[in-house]
Structure formats: C-alpha cells, structure tokens
C-alpha cells in the first residue's frame, strides 16, 4: 500500500515538474509575445504589420524559405536514398556529416558562405561572369537556408526507407512493374510522410534562420531584409511593437507548420 502511494507521489511529482518546465520555457514566452504585440490594441498591431518594410520582409522570408525547402526536398530525398540503398566507401562518414549543420553555430555557416561565394572567390566570379551576384542577394539567403535545414528531410526519410520491407518492392516486380513504376507507385508513397514532415520542419526552421543569413544577406530593407533580421533591427531601434508584430506572424506560421507535421505523423501512425 505504502509503495503504491509512494509511486503515485513520484509520478505526480515528475508530471508536475515536466509541466512546469514546459509552461515556463515555452508557453509563457509564447503567450508573452502574443500579449505584448496586442498590448497596444489591434489597430496598432495592424499598423505595425502594414508597414511595407515589415510585410515585405515577411513575404520575402516565406518565399525564400519555400524555395530552400523545395531544394531540400529533392536533394534530401536523394541523399537519404543514396545513404540507405547504396554501399560505398565513406558512406558512414557522409552519414554522420549530415548532422553537421545542426551542430555548427549558424554564424560559422554564414561566414563559410561569405568566404566561399564572395565576389573575389572562384564561385562568386563565375556567377558574376554569368550575370548575377550571389552574395548580398537572394541566392545567398537561399543557400544559407538550405545549408541550415539540410538534415531535416534526410533524417525524416531515412528511417522510413530503412524499415520499408523489400518484399513490397519485389511484389511489384513479380506483378510486372518496371523499376520506375515501382519507385513512383510503391516506394515514393512509403517515403512521402517523411518527405512531408521533413519539409515542414525545414520550412519553419528556414523561416526563423538568423545567424547564417544576417552575414550574407546584405540586409537591404525591402530587398534582402528577412523577417528575423527585421525583428532584430526593430529592437535595436527601440520599436518593440514592430518587432513583436512580425514575431507573432512568424510564430503563428511556425505553430501552424508544427501542427501540420503532427497531423501528418498521426495519420502515418494510424496506418
């Protein structure tokens, strides 16, 4: 009896501790942002958002993040495929390098891009000759976003590919399906939940990226100023209202994306 009571106390204690931690660390700050942004009323909030520089920054961020996500969906799916299906020397090293963008300070990533793609670098010069500039323009922002969000799609697709039963593929072959048809109709649908949830995480991470982007974007208001840098600028110039309005927009987008990821994963578990 006493041990049951004991256990119950422990379990209650643990649950409460986790809840408290969660509330303090995540729920309070989020509510704080929403509260702060609306503290001056709805009209002030919309005024802050209708500021052209603000919504331009948000729009640009969403556009470039989508682009970066698209790149990662293709490259990430391909990389996951190669890392799981092929055996070649260096595969394990490559596989462990995938997580590097997670471990590396994003400012270091930004610096890498700055040095590698700058106007005096080989790639920079080549791009210049072809008629466009990478650094301090949109391509640099996309590259920074792609680099930082690279692992998401790979890491979401890999377990699905690994647990996929070879016999499903073989069944398609014995039914007469070509390799291409088997890929599109049998293998890809198996990877799709991973691709989708990986893409959504990559997207919301790309929306939020600051460190890598701020070094390479040039941050020209209305041109290459993305939302997170805009927020930073507003705080620097003591306009808390403008910063929180844009923050709320980003936060809401991220929450929506997270909720969709959860939904996709729940549906997958239902399978």
């Amino acid at each position: 009896m006493s041990s049951v009571m004991h256990n119950r106390w422990w379990s209650w204690g643990f649950r409460s501790a986790v809840m408290l931690y969660f509330v303090l660390l995540i729920v309070f700050p989020i509510c704080g942002i929403y509260g702060q942004s609306l503290s001056a009323g709805w009209s002030a909030f919309f005024d802050n958002l209708s500021e052209p520089l603000a919504w331009n920054a948000v729009l640009l961020t969403v556009k470039l993040a989508l682009f970066a996500t698209l790149v990662n969906v293709f490259v990430g799916t391909m990389s996951a495929w190669v890392l799981i299906r092929y055996r070649f020397p260096g595969r394990r090293l490559l596989n462990s390098l995938v997580d590097l963008p997670f471990a590396l300070p994003t400012a270091v990533a930004g610096l890498m891009i700055l040095l590698l793609l700058g106007p005096r670098s080989f790639v920079g010069e080549l791009a210049e000759r072809l008629g466009f500039t990478i650094l301090f323009h949109e391509p640099a922002i996309v590259i920074a976003m792609v680099f930082v969000t690279f692992p998401f799609v790979i890491r979401a697709v890999q377990p699905l590919l690994e647990e996929m039963d070879a016999s499903e593929e073989e069944a398609a072959y014995t039914l007469g399906a070509t390799k291409a048809k088997t890929f599109w109709q049998v293998i890809l649908p198996n990877m799709l939940p991973g691709i989708l949830s990986g893409a959504m995480l990559a997207f919301s991470r790309a929306l939020a990226e600051f460190g890598a982007v701020v070094l390479v974007a040039g941050n020209i208001p209305g041109k290459t100023l993305i939302a997170s840098v805009y927020i930073f600028g507003e705080i620097e110039s003591d306009n808390v209202g403008g910063a929180t309005a844009v923050s709320v927009l980003l936060l809401t987008l991220s929450l929506l994306v997270l909720w969709s990821v959860n939904y996709v994963q729940m549906r997958r578990k239902g399978l």
């Binding site: 398609a172 072959y173 039914l175 399906a177 109709q185 399978l271």
Partner: protein
Amino acid sequence: MHVEVRGLHKKFGSFQAVHDVNFSIDKGQLIGLLGPSGGGKTSILRMLAGLETVDSGDILFHGQRVNDLPPQERGIGFVFQNYALFKHMTVADNIAFGLEVKKWSKAKIKDRVAELVELTGLSGFERRLPHQLSGGQRQRVAFARALAPEPQLLLLDEPFAAIDAKIRHELRSWLRDMIDRLGITSIFVTHDQDEAIEVADEIMIINKGRLEQKGSPWEIYKDPQSPFVAGFIGESTIVDNVSSLRGFDTASTWPGTKALIRPEYIEIGQASEFATKLSATERGRVRHIHFRGSEWLVEVEVGDTKLVTYRSLEKQVLHPGEEVQVLIHRAYLFNDNDSWIMENKLKEDPLPVHI
C-alpha cells in the same frame, strides 16, 4: 505451366544454400516444398520467381530457359510470407496493380477485380486499407493480387505461417479448392509437415540445400528414401540396438544399423488383446501416459529401449508401471549406406509355435 529445374546451385557468400537440385513439375499440380528452416526452400522459390539469381543450373518453364528473364517477364504470381501488400492502396487497388501494369482497359480491370474479390470472399472490403484487415483477409488479398494477372505459375512462401492455427486450417482447404478450380500450377514453401501432407499433391523434402525426396505424401510416409525423410515426416523414435527387439533379431547381420520406429507401428495391450499374434509380442512396462485429446500417448519400456505409441480411448486405460505386451509391426532400418523397411519376422510366421 510445366516447370523443370536442372542442377540448380546457389551460394550466399560461403554458405551453400541450394545444392544440385533437380525436379520437374507437371501442369496443374500443387507442390509443397517441405523442410527445416534455413534448408534452402525459400531460395529455390525465389530463384523460380527471378528474385534471386542462379549460380549454375537451369530453370525451364514450358521447356524454355528462363534463367535470365527478370521477374517481370516470367508470368508468375508470388505470395509473400508477410503478404507484402501495398500499404497505402486499398484492397481493390492492390488487386488491380498487376492489371494496370499490363495496361488492361479500365472496364476489364474493374471486372477482373470484382471477379477476384468474389472468388476470395472479400466482398465489402474493396475500399479498405491493408491495416484494416485481419491476417486471414490480408492473406487472401495477397492471393487475389498474385492471381489477378492470370499467372501460369503461383509461388507461395510460407503462406500460412503468420496466421493463427484455427484460421490456418480453413485457409488451407480454401487454397486447395481454389487451386483445384483454377488448375494453376502452384508451389508452396512450408516447414509444417501437416500442412504439406494435407494440401499438396506432391511433396519435395528439402534439407541442407538438397532435394531429399519427391513424391506424394503417402509415398513419402510409406517409403522414405533417407533417414532424414523418415525422421522428418510423422513421429518416430530412433532405436540403437534394434536386434534386441523381438522379431528383429536378424538385424544384427548388418552391424551399425539403427531403427526408426513410428508410434503407429507399435501395438500394446494385455496378452488377451493379441490373440494369434501373441508370439510376436514381448513384455514391456508402461512408463508414462499422456492424454492427447483424441487418444493416449503411451511411453513404454522394452528391456532398456524406450518406445512411444498411441492407444485408442476405447480400449482399457493403462497405468504407469503396468506390465503390458508390446507388438512391433515393423521398423525402418538404416545405416550409413542403405535404408529399408523390415517387418516383424515372427508376425509373418504362418504357424507360430506355442509352448
């Protein structure tokens, strides 16, 4: 489809999975590949399907060598052990897959799917996804999907392994009926001798990559060609010094010969139960009895040899420790070179001498 296999070999690394297997199968037969796990049955099946390459030897369908044909072009249906249904497709889409590949018209596909759904008793489940079905239903979807493109050869890898005992029984006879009705040549792999005996026209016993024997279940039971086959089919006890048993003393002419004795070769009971055959019996002692649901399983000791036999529930119940008469009708003798069946000499004696 007439299937012929000549000198089939397959190695995985240094492991010889299949070793010099030869057989031929007539059109419309249902063949069971039976043997212990890891014996090479599934490898043979997968080579027939083209899912595994052949190291050496030939596979012929209708007299045509198909070694180099990919699985897509062999005209076979394959039912996988875990069914391998397409998880994201409905039952109807699963069945239609092979037909769409063959570019059948929409209307024809619809008809064929409806026909197979009817045949496999899946009516009402067409729109379900595989995870919404029971094991037995999934098995039937896999079967319908394999049959849909009208293959000439149906290959089944442990088709009932993942289904619980009761439904397995129903599915077995259902499969038997279905294959009889369709007249399609079929080969299935199993490690369950009851399954093979019950369902197959012919059984091929595979052990350590070799084909030990091919024949009807009755032939294999009655006339096993190797000690492995004799021991694998049915229940049995191995007796080392068979010549000490009454009626088998001539076995001592072949030194090193052992005997395999099946429970059904042995009769036990009180002396009064034997009448004229009494002279061929010898005394033994009941050690244990086990109730088997439909009969008694009796362990009996003759001299220092332990034997196992059945006893009908209709007869008088024996008790452990009781002295009984034991009649051994026959034994399957084998040594390193040879194997044969020996009848009890005294039982055959037309004029037994009573003293």
